[in-house]
């Protein structure tokens, strides 16, 4: 069921990256999406949510996905997570087709989705027994990693939006996912909190080297976080362009090289459509 229960040690913080091999062949990407098509049947006929999407994600990459509302960002992420099925094409993680949802694919929703009846530390542990010393230790380390010391025993209703989202991130990280999928996780947060959360997330990525796919509709956020920005266009949802962001970390939003790349991404959008992209505001 879960790796921890079977007594195989967890290793996420500070640990190496020797993810139990997987079925990945040499040179093959961690996540591979080929000719992915997905449509939904609705009252008004079929909606093509994703059209011929191809994407390869290497281990340790930080992919940001950006696009206007309704262009299939969530659908793409949910398919990778195993939450949505009924697509055509091939999606593999570590060489294996996506079976269903599971702890190897961490998922952060736009809302924190914590269990309201559990305290912070119990939410992080969820179905794993906190009284086991190794879980206890991992949970404590994660609480430190997401900077929530002192709130171990708080309930979700006592937390701010940013804190709750950090608990959700810790909950996913405890399961030591091969890939972390984040669906507009900071969309509902105010600008200050969002900036802080971005640095927390980058810190986690730098330390754990967890592969990330981060969906956003905020261009600044996409360029600030990503090693590559995947730009989607709507109706039908497909990849318009992939822009590599080869800026070193830590990045500064005020530098001219950052602004250049930001404009480059923005230009792609202007060509796509006259779509309004608000700077951040959650939809």
């Amino acid at each position: 069921m879960c790796r921890v229960a079977q007594g195989i040690p967890l290793f996420f913080v500070c640990g190496g990256k020797d993810h139990f091999g997987g079925g990945a062949l040499m040179g093959e990407a961690l996540l591979s999406i080929t000719e992915l098509n997905k449509s939904f049947g609705t009252a008004g006929g079929r909606v093509q949510a994703l059209h011929e999407v191809d994407l390869e994600v290497e281990e340790g990459e930080f992919i940001t996905v950006i696009g206007p509302s309704g262009c299939g960002k969530s659908t793409l992420l949910r398919i990778v997570a195993g939450l949505d099925t009924g697509y055509t094409g091939r999606v593999t993680l570590g060489g294996e087709p996506i079976g269903g949802p599971g702890i190897d694919k961490g998922f952060i929703f736009q809302e924190h989705r914590l269990f309201p009846w559990l305290t912070v530390e119990k939410n992080i542990a969820s179905d794993l027994p906190l009284r086991k010393p190794e879980i206890r230790r991992k949970v404590d380390e994660l609480i430190e990693l997401v900077k929530l010391q002192g709130f171990e025993h708080s309930y979700p209703r006592e937390l701010s939006g940013g804190m709750a989202q950090r608990v959700a991130i810790a909950r996913a990280l405890l399961r030591n996912p091969r890939i972390l999928l984040l669906d507009e996780p900071f969309g509902a947060l105010d600008a200050f909190t969002r900036t802080h959360m971005q640095s927390v997330l980058l810190d986690i990525w730098r330390r754990n080297k967890t592969t990330m796919i981060f969906v956003t509709h905020d261009i600044d956020e996409a360029v600030f976080l990503g090693t590559r920005v995947v730009i989607l266009e709507p109706r039908p949802g497909r990849i318009r362009k992939i822009v590599p962001i080869d800026l070193p970390f830590p990045r500064k939003k005020t530098t001219s090289s950052f602004q250049e790349l930001r404009l480059k991404v923005l230009n792609v959008f202007e060509k796509v459509d006259e779509l309004e992209l608000t700077d951040g505001a959650g939809i």
Binding site: M1, C2, A81, L83, G100, P101, G102, I103, K105, G106, F107, F109, E111, R113, F115, P116, W117, L118, S126, D127, Y155, P156, R157, R171, A172, R175
Partner: protein
């Protein structure tokens, strides 16, 4: 009481000194205003925390009642005065085996409630979790639920006789439904988004039940328990009034035959007070178990 009245008067005075008083505005109206504010909040505080406010009306009624009895305005047989009811209570408690009868009643209500509640919880969980179980069981249960359970009491007595079994079955059949319905609704009310979380976190079916469904349905389940308890208590009265050799209902029945009105009152008051105490206990458990809830608390 005197203290409360005092606060009220003070508050009224303070308010009068407030912003309406144009002349005194310059120097002390500010202070007056502040005092008015604090005094009002004190009144509100006293009203909220003052359990005695709720006791005011009953106390007055009892006083008038006693007065009417002592003055001979109503016959003692029709409506005995509070003091004679108190005397009957003492008599029953000391020589009449009140504790024994109360114990018997508790036993019946407890066993009937326990069986009914366990069945309600199990079936409610089953139909709540599984569509198929819902289609099979729920229509039947809903039809039975609409039959007033007191109406089937004669049938139960016909089947099980006048013994303990029929009493427990009457109580059980009543306390089954509220918990069944509220467990079912509680489970169906669980946020689908949390089910997705359970899938992403790889919960086993057992963990999903234990870590998600039951805690999320707990508010409904606890409400169902409290309602079941109340129905069990009502069922107890019916069962004991229909025919029994012991229990508080038996005391009432016997007193009716002997025209011993004070004892009837003692029985009624015991049913009321004990019912209220049990309800309060359940509310307390509810508050403790659901402290994580973030909802309007009044």
């Amino acid at each position: 009481m005197a203290e409360g009245a005092d606060i009220l008067i003070k508050a009224a005075k303070g308010a009068r000194k407030g912003p309406d008083d144009a002349a005194g505005m310059a120097a002390d109206s500010g202070a007056g205003h502040i005092r008015a504010k604090t005094d009002w909040s004190a009144v509100r505080e006293a009203l909220r925390s003052g359990w005695w406010v709720g006791g005011l009306l009953p106390a007055a009624v009892i006083a008038i009642w006693q007065l009417a009895g002592s003055a001979g305005w109503v016959s003692a047989e029709f409506l005995p005065a509070p003091l004679s009811i108190a005397a009957a209570f003492t008599e029953l408690a000391v020589h009449g085996g009140l504790a024994h009868h109360l114990g018997v009643s508790f036993g019946r209500a407890g066993i009937g409630f326990l069986i009914g509640a366990v069945l309600g919880l199990l079936l409610g969980t089953l139909t709540g979790l599984f569509r198929r179980a819902e289609y099979m069981l729920d229509p039947g249960v809903q039809v039975l639920r609409l039959v007033p359970h007191l109406a089937i009491a004669p049938l139960i007595i016909l089947w099980f006789g006048f013994g303990e079994v029929s009493k427990i079955v009457i109580i059980m059949s009543g306390s089954f439904f509220p918990l069944y319905v509220n467990t079912f609704m509680g489970i169906r009310g669980v946020d689908n988004k949390l089910f997705e979380v359970a899938r992403v976190l790889g919960f086993s079916p057992w963990q999903r039940l234990r870590r998600l469904v039951l805690p999320a349905a707990l508010p409904g389940i606890l409400l169902g328990l409290r309602l079941s308890m109340a129905v069990a208590w009502i069922g107890l009265v019916v069962a004991e009034l229909i025919g029994s050799q012991s229990g508080v209902g038996f005391l009432i029945n016997e007193a009716k035959q002997n025209s011993n009105t004070p004892v009837i009152f003692v029985g009624i008051i015991i049913f009321a007070v004990v019912g209220k105490l049990i309800d309060s206990l359940f509310r307390m458990i509810e508050r403790k178990a659901l402290h994580w809830r973030d909802s309007y608390q009044g």
